[in-house]
Symmetry: C2
Subunit: 513 residues, 2 copies
């Protein structure tokens, strides 16, 4: 007879220790991206590796598995979690998932993979610089092999090699319970409709963006973006904004969520939209309810759910007409000389310029998903073996032509453009586009409850919107699987329709299609 | 038969892990003082407590003691470390010391002490604010009791209560092998000569400092102080300067040493001298040779040795006439309006104003040691029991009158002014004044090797001086006990003479005594 309250308390304690270590790691990583003196890198890497090792050890320590088993309903223990409150059952499921992901990979495999990833990323970095795919090829092949192996350890695919199912195992890291065939059902129509929309837009004259080609002083941008954070309602007692080479959001504690951005003198929009995007991530992280605080349940439901929040703020709010009606006067106050001849409508149109280009991270709202679908198609086939790594640059060019109507100039800006595959992160890309879809399904649900959504946004009054997201999205943390959470929030299953309706209506109006 | 190379490698590995954890802790603490969002404090405390626990666990893990014993020369193993190179013997001794300090305190004592210190510090903070010594008294008594107990655990004093020797045990934390009677031999003459000097200076007219009572913009101060760092030769690829409530130096890795300062609009000197002082600490931390890198030997020889370095730069260099001949033009360039009517000689005289006051941290070079000796006399007697905690404020006032010729206005600026005792840090204060003495003995040694020391300083060329400190001080890390290191550097035992000669000559000239 186990004392379940006692067992549960032990598991919560183990979990809490791991969370503290994860947050300490996040603090060291944040510091590395924002503050670390150049020569401090070597020691910092060793510190990180060491803390990661300790965190891993604590999680898979002998006790954890035994404690979990004693509380779970299994064939030997069919009423294990009976009588436990839902939140505790959710906790057990989430901790089990974490435990399994950690414990099922043999230690020597983890070490070998980490070493190979280090070499691969270094090789990628050089290869991209030299536009030399051939030098990266053997590393890419190794990364594919390690990824397949990893999925196998986690129980996907099976020995006899259902390699298509191996990719599902990689997707499962980022989007639990969302295999490739399910993603296909939304990505295929999405691709076709976006390709069509893009072709129409290309025939239209672009909006005026000439006023963006002026110098915008970086220190003034920094001041402006702090005003923007405050405008959005970012609680700076619980977080902060800093500068890093690539914008990101990270959580160092329940009340310590930090975002970063970057400032280019010749690109005002980059800093602004990064701040809005990362604030969306941060609101999610800051919004978990007290009962999840400090536990593994205080986390986004999935990578795509996190992206749904950042993209909701960046695109649905930040690229909307009412947003710029409200915020443009403040922006103009920050840059009176540069913007004296511009009005909010002109600015709104400029930030929604559609211009397909080779680089994903610079893509507009219409092209973006096409970059993602391209990568999804290719990585799925790389893992299944349908596509050999060697052929990647060629097929990349072919798809880029097909989806975006572009010639890829170079492999550096083609198959070598993203860091993800060099780190073995296959299965990550779909989250970005799924996030857009979730976000627009969520918008449809908000509009039912807050019909004057747009006037809230125009007033710069985001309280009701954030409260709604808190009640419907944030409150669940990662208690539910993404599909389940999406249904709970929207009453609907994953669907491409809300996104397509939104984007077609918006750009039809903007470009007068 | 033990394989000593193997055993040693194991000990180095344990040590390296502990160092990484200490550096990770330093990173989190640095972040807390410079960046932490206000509400993040609670989680951060838990993260720190947890990492401290892990670090402690790793150090005292069963293996460490056994491995140490097998390599040490003891009565059972008289030739244990025979044949080992000196550096490895030094390593074993330093690790043994760390191990003993950690392992000899029972876990429940450590927990109880940590809790009592937390309460005590909070009570002190309130008591100081309200000028209410009585409310702090019970906590002070508890801190004294815990400190005595701690010294006992470390083997000082003995059961039958040689309480004077207990204080030696506390001194030993900061200044290994330097008991109170030895400190007495320098502090007593120091006190008498400084009291006499101070009385003479008080009769003289003070230098002109009126130009310091102007506003000095904080952002301009920040720019100026970055120039000052560069001027001193601080390698910013291996460290950085930030802002915190109290200036400090901390080491996050062999190539990551960070200093902080603070800027007051009405006090230009505070920021400047903090930067020079902390740079002195940082040069020490950055200067340990490669063979000590990453080990416990890469540390200051003692608290006073660290202070000898910071105070050498702050006072011997930073408050010297040649320094201001060189740096004043740069300072003037930073604040042309405020300093247009001032020349370097006037500025030099102003930074050496002697004006006894109640607050230690604001004290001038002549009064400073008197503040320290006062605290040394009192804490020694608090620990021995000669002085009851209740009587502290009264005796504090009496000593302040005797040493500094001042009436203490309040306990807040008297017996409650420093945080140290509220944290149980008895035995720490003497380091500050010992540091001054070491520093001036070191100056005497440098002058033999670099007779044109002053012209180096006047040129702002600190390369030869830093190289000398590297060869004679930094290279040893904490391989030698402070007294041994001092003798190695200067060929002399601890002496008050170089300091007294320096300070009497300097202020006789400045004040025309």
């Amino acid at each position: 007879m186990v004392n379940s309250a006692d067992t549960l308390a032990k598991l919560f304690r183990i979990d809490r220790e791991c969370r503290h270590l994860e947050h300490a790691l996040a603090a060291l990583q944040w510091d590395q991206e924002t503050n670390l003196p150049p020569k401090g890198v070597e020691d910092r890497s060793e510190q990180l590796a060491m803390l990661e090792g300790i965190s891993h050890e604590r999680l898979i320590a002998g006790e954890t598995g035994r404690l979990l088993e004693s509380l779970e309903s299994t064939s030997e223990n069919p009423r294990g979690d009976e009588g436990l409150p839902d939140i505790d059952r959710d906790f057990l499921r989430v901790l089990r998932r974490k435990y399994d992901k950690a414990v099922k990979l043999p230690a020597d495999f983890v070490t070998a993979a980490a070493r190979a990833e280090g070499l691969s990323q270094a090789a990628w970095s050089q290869a991209r610089k030299n536009n030399d795919f051939a030098s990266f090829l053997p590393h890419l092949e190794t990364m594919i092999e390690f990824s397949r192996k990893k999925a196998e350890y986690w129980g996907f695919g099976g020995q006899n090699g259902d390699r298509a199912a191996l990719y599902d195992g990689l997707l499962d890291i980022y989007e639990p319970g969302m295999p490739a065939p399910e993603i296909d059902t939304v990505f295929l129509p999405l691709r076709d409709r976006l390709v069509t929309l893009l072709k129409k837009i290309k025939l239209c004259p672009p909006p005026d963006t000439s006023f963006l080609s002026q110098p915008f002083d970086a220190e003034r941008q920094a001041r402006l973006n702090r005003r923007l954070m405050d405008y959005l309602g970012f609680d700076r007692r619980r977080g902060r904004l800093d500068i890093s080479a690539h914008p990101f959001t990270t959580t160092l504690g329940s009340d310590d969520v930090r975002i970063t951005t970057r400032y280019f003198q010749n690109n005002l929009l980059s800093g602004v939209f990064s701040v809005i995007h990362e604030s969306g991530h941060a609101f999610y992280e800051m919004g978990f309810p007290p009962e999840l605080r400090g536990t593994s349940l205080a986390d986004g439901a999935s990578m795509a759910f996190h992206e749904s929040q950042s993209r909701f703020w960046e695109n649905v709010i930040g690229r909307s007409r009412p947003f710029w009606e409200g915020f443009f006067p403040i922006l103009k106050d920050g840059f009176p000389d540069q913007l004296k001849a511009v009005d909010s409508e002109t600015f709104y149109r400029a930030v929604n310029l559609v211009k397909p280009a080779n680089i994903r991270v610079d893509a507009d709202e219409v092209s973006y998903a096409l970059h993602i679908i391209l990568r999804f198609e290719l990585e799925k086939r790389l893992i299944s073996g349908e596509l050999s790594a060697e052929k990647l640059p060629e097929v990349w060019r072919q798809y880029t032509q097909e989806y975006l109507g572009l010639e890829s100039d170079t492999d550096a800006d083609g198959a070598l453009q993203d860091v993800h595959w060099s780190q073995g992160s296959f299965g990550y890309f779909p989250s970005y586009a799924l996030g857009n879809l979730y976000g627009l399904q969520i918008r449809k649900a908000i509009l039912k409850d807050i019909p004057d959504f747009e006037s809230h946004v125009a007033r710069g009054d985001f309280g009701a919107i954030r409260a709604w997201l808190g009640d419907h999205v944030y409150r669940w943390g990662c208690r539910l699987a993404p599909a389940e959470l999406l249904f709970k929030i929207t009453g609907e299953k994953l669907s491409v329709i809300p996104f397509l309706e939104y984007i077609e209506a918006k750009y039809t109006e903007l470009y007068g299609l």
